[in-house]
Amino acid sequence: MSVQQETKIQAGKPKSNAKFLKRLNAFKAWLYLLPALVFLGIFMVYPLIDVLVYSFEEGYNSASQTSFGTGWFNYAYVLHDPYFLQAVKNTFIIVIITVPLSTLLALLISLALNSIKKLKEVFQTIFFLPYVTNTLAVGLVFMIMFKKTPYTDGLINMILAIFKTGPIDFIDGPYWAKMFVMCFYTIWVVLPFKVLILTSALASVDEVYYKAAKIDGTSRFRMFTHITLPMISPMIFYLVITGFIGAFKAYSDEVAIFGTNLNSAGMNTIVGYVYDMLYGDSGGYPSYAAAAALILFAIVFTITVVNLLISKKTSIR
């Protein structure tokens, strides 16, 4: 008690001191935040505004940094660019094929994983391996396995030959073949994450529900549809939504298989188009890139909102 009093007296006027301390603390807090604020400001907030500006600046010249007006021209240009339309088509095909297929496949694999005890961890570890590998590197391996050259038909064609089909050039051949490789590789790449999430979702369903259902003579199919699915449905929706977003942004997997010149391979994606407009052989048009990126953002945003609405509706039911 007496010590406290002493220090108070020494500290002088306690009231203004407290105020000062509070200010000092607030100042310190901002100091801690400063690095994050600076980086986010320069590399996230400012670009966000800037990209909108770019998309409406007509005839922007990146060398002289001048433009001759504002308007919807950039959007119009992008929407009439056959490369962009091809990219949109490719992206949509990839999304529509890989999202449902990879989710289903992941569900199947997770169910299998969850029903075994022996070797479960080994399988889990193996299945997760693609997540930690460099997409570009493994993509090259896929390319080589699928590619048909004058010297060899490649591994996949060798297998196809057993079934008396082929040979097909998956890398430089018909569109559907290229798309097949693309979707196959995409699924190979995205599956680890989905399997991981679904396996832990399945494992978190209390065993006792299955025991109860089993005693009541519930068939395995009914257990799945009436117990498992409703209980893991939030996770499935999460995966579908993130899957949609991820698939719409497909790009590096395409580069991995078909190389950097995606337009000539006819396998470009929307994101690829954005980057091509920005930089590279056809680059130097940040305005077109901005318009394309905003169109992509609008598409992804709409689909996410629709997904969320559906998930809300089903979960209420």
């Binding site: 980086f39 670009p47 570009l136 038909d153 995205v190």
Partner: protein, 288 residues
Amino acid sequence: MSDYDQISKKARTARIVRKTVTYSLLVLWGIIVLFPFYWMILSSIKSYGSYNAEFTPKFITTEPTMQNYIDAFTKVNLGRYFLNTIVFTVVTTALMMLVIVFAAFAFSRLQFRGKNLVFTLFLSLMMIPSELVIITNFVTITNWGLRNTFTGLILPSVTSVFYIYLLKENFEQIPDDLYKAAKVDGTSDMKYLFKVMVPICSPTIVTVVILKVIECWNAYVWPRLITDDPKYFLVSNGISEIRENGFGRENIPAMMAAVVVISIPLIVLFLIFHKKIMAGVSRGGTKG
């Protein structure tokens, strides 16, 4: 009675069938996952001559050679790409950890006006796809004359709103009393942060570090935009470069050797920390 016997027997066969189907499915997918890895290692130890002589690819090789690995390091600048990536990964991760630990600390423990507003703004930034901001960042870095520099490579990726959020949530679970006790003992904020909070939250910190390392090691888009001088290529760009211009005519075994070399660090990391990595990714990872 025989009814019961029959039902019992049926159930047993059904179980065996189910087990078989389950394991077959798992093994099949396991092969699909592992085969590309096998194929890349196999191709990397075939000599250039023997690889190109195989019209029908062989599943084993009788004369393994390390020549491709030597080529990978001598004929193209793989060593350089490798080193660049290590520098990039280490510096980016370290800087980001500092930035996000400070920010998370400010949000979780310090009191200041406008905290909630700033945090809400932070969270809303999570929805912004990187594709949208990369355009301006490209222009910014170019204008600053930072193309083909490590600074230009690193700067835009040293913050992550999501990781700040993850860490802040974790920091907040540490009881307030600990902070008060430290204050009573005269511990400075900085000391408290690094001696108490960071050690307690080390599992989350490790998770974030691992995720960031994976992200950095596989970074492709930004490095591609910002570097065109092979001296600053990271492994992903290096692979792209090797594919298009390296090794002369289609030296696939050497390419595969390069691929093996750049895949190994993460795979080794994964095999050592697979439990941690998988737990971390299921908490905070998104891909696909």
